[in-house]
């Protein structure tokens, strides 16, 4: 059991390290770097800047060193808590990102939770009350989730909200935006969370509901359910003890795999809604080739995903060792 844990932990760390390299390299792909970008901007606005100054800047930022050296410096610093310097914002990456990372994590995790908490009961109800109004409603929502992923929904909702005269403001009311963290601020955040969670989580929830419904329907037709009924068990109790339990297995064991999709969907929705999270910042830093900022955010998002998956796996194994056997061995 513990050997399994350590094996997975080691494996996860390797992946995290690989993603850090990948994040760094990907940002390097565009030709040129921040300095060339800057030069182009200056040229466009008609200002002149001479080459020596540019070279100087480059040396200052350490952009003249070979790539792998740059990476090692960055990686080493990251381990010490220094994630580099944002050229554009002229501050350490950690400051530039600020609360955004935490907020992204908060949105991601709450979306994951809500997705499962909502989808499973609806799926169960749908399967046991086939062709009822609730079932059709669930199917309609499923349809919606399938047809309108994240940003589309965000666009349409924003349009609708604007027409209705409501504000579509990010994650905080204007008062709390710059305020210090306090219980009130947390409550304010909670009040604003439902909309992003709804948008990001809708397609995942719809999918999950459909899968839960189908899996449960499969199980409901199986022989052991009849056996249980033949013993004289009460119907509701029977359904939860047997087919639901069996149907839940594959669904819960893959809870970790939802994470990449939520993070991914989240980025776009965050950008459309312009939330104070990492998505919009990633976008702007990519456009300006603000190297360390972009790499750091990219790495952070991968890190969030991979570590999240690892944690969920471990929690699952703790809760039910059987899941380890049934869920993974594909």
């Amino acid at each position: 059991m513990s050997s399994y844990f350590f094996r997975r932990l080691a494996y996860m760390l390797v992946i995290v390290w690989l993603t850090s390299i990948a994040s760094f390299l990907i940002i390097q792909l565009p030709a040129g770097d921040f300095v060339t970008n800057l030069a182009t901007q200056y040229a466009r606005s008609g200002r002149d800047i001479d080459q020596a100054k540019l070279d100087n800047l480059r040396r200052q930022f350490g952009l003249d060193r070979p790539v792998y050296v740059q990476y090692f410096h960055w990686a080493a610093n990251v381990l010490q808590g220094d994630w580099g310097w944002s050229f554009r914002l002229r501050q350490p990456v950690v400051d530039a990102v600020g609360d955004r990372a935490g907020l992204t994590a908060a949105i991601t995790l709450s979306t994951l939770l809500i997705t499962y908490v909502v989808a499973i009961p609806i799926g169960i109800y749908s399967a046991t009350h086939q062709y009822s109004i609730a079932d059709y409603f669930a199917m309609f929502v499923g349809f919606l989730g399938m047809a309108m992923p994240g940003f589309m929904l965000a666009l349409i909702l924003m349009y609708g909200f604007l027409n209705a005269g409501l504000s579509v403001g990010g994650l905080f009311s204007p008062d709390y935006m710059r305020a210090e963290w306090s219980l009130d601020k947390v409550i304010d955040l909670l009040k604003h969370l439902p909309l992003p969670i709804l948008i990001i989580g809708l397609s995942g929830t719809a999918d999950l509901t459909r899968i839960m419904r189908a899996t449960l329907l499969d199980e409901l037709g199986k022989q052991y359910v009849i056996t249980a009924r033949a013993k004289g068990l009460y119907e509701t109790k029977l359904i939860f003890k047997y087919p639901v339990r069996v149907a839940l297995n594959p669904i819960i064991s893959t809870i970790g795999f939802e994470l990449p999709y939520i993070v991914s969907g989240g980025v776009i929705v965050e950008m459309v809604l312009n939330l104070p999270t990492t998505g919009p910042l990633l976008y702007s830093s990519l456009l300006t080739e603000d190297m360390f900022l972009a790499s750091s955010i990219l790495f952070f998002l991968c890190f969030l995903t991979v570590v999240g998956m690892f944690i969920s796996d471990m929690v699952l194994v703790l809760v039910d060792p059987r899941i380890r056997f049934t869920g993974r061995e594909a």
Partner: protein, 394 residues
Amino acid sequence: MADKLHPAELRSSGLGSASDAITVKKGHAELSAEERYYLASQWQMMWRKFRRHKLAIVGGAVLLVLYLSAIFADFLAPYPKEIRFEKFAYRPPTPVHLFDEEGQFRGPFVYGTTKERNMETLEAIYTVDTSAVYPLRFFVQGEPYDVFGLFETGIRLFGVEEPGAIFLFGTDSLGRDLFSRIVHGARLSLSIGLVGVSLSFLIGVTLGGISGYFGGVVDTIIQRMIEFFMSIPTTPLWLALSAALPKDWSIVRVYFGISIILSLVGWGALARVVRGKFLELRELDYVLAARVSGVSEWSIIWVHLVPNFASYLIVHVTLSIPGMILGETALSFLGLGLRSPAVSWGVLLEKAQNIASVAIYWWTLVPALFVVITVVAFNFLGDGLRDAADPYKQ
């Protein structure tokens, strides 16, 4: 209570529990009753089941219409995609009337508009000019275009005479007809999905096949790769890679660049499916039988194994296309994918980012509707195919 048979009676009547003549009869009966069922080939069966799935048929039909529209875009669109009508910037969709003001039937036609300016607010006011009647004509002569590089023609499906204009979905900020641009945009939007999926398919099937068929170390390595790729959130990756595309690349290069980027992420799931199927099928008895009969490995793979899960592949591919289309739309929408003068639905939507303008000029969101319709149609089609391919479903 009646007596049971004595053991002596059992022996003399020669009853053996292993011999079950009724079972023999049962087998006979089964065959005859289901002869038709068994004789149908796999594809015939699939088609039969597919036909019952009405939503899938609708989806398929819709897609057919969309793809045909894309192919014959020039013919369908009343105006070329670049043409600007400076006088008609940001026009709402032109309504087509059948009856004029007096209630007389005139066939389909549109009214002209006159533009005035409110001298105080300087706002442009468009009023419908009911005196200017422009009948809608079919198979009109419009701007010439060339057909697949073979010949030139100017015939378009419908149009109105100048100075009338018909903008079924309104115009954008530069006075370009949105309907024409949407029809043209279908070309890029719909095809990029196909290209991306083909690439994914190639990578996925190859790697998945190798992994599943040969097993061992190769399998483990490839599996780890798949897991790695699947645990990375796709959008940040797309953003980063798209930002990496040089800004001076031609549209064609950008197009292929985007398809490659999109496909890079999708192959993992497909490889998994292929691998799983190979693992499952290669243990089956009929593979063993084939090997024992001396069939070559290559034949086994292509003649025995692949046809068995070809249907799953088709289903998977069909269901992956919407993801690609959405991906391209999202990227272009954010300015990181295709850019002007290329026209795709995502590019058209990029103009709709400004919420204020969307509130007033709501028709700029129409491309989104097309994206949704396409995605839904593909999903229905894929669902229908999946149900049809499942051998156990009646």
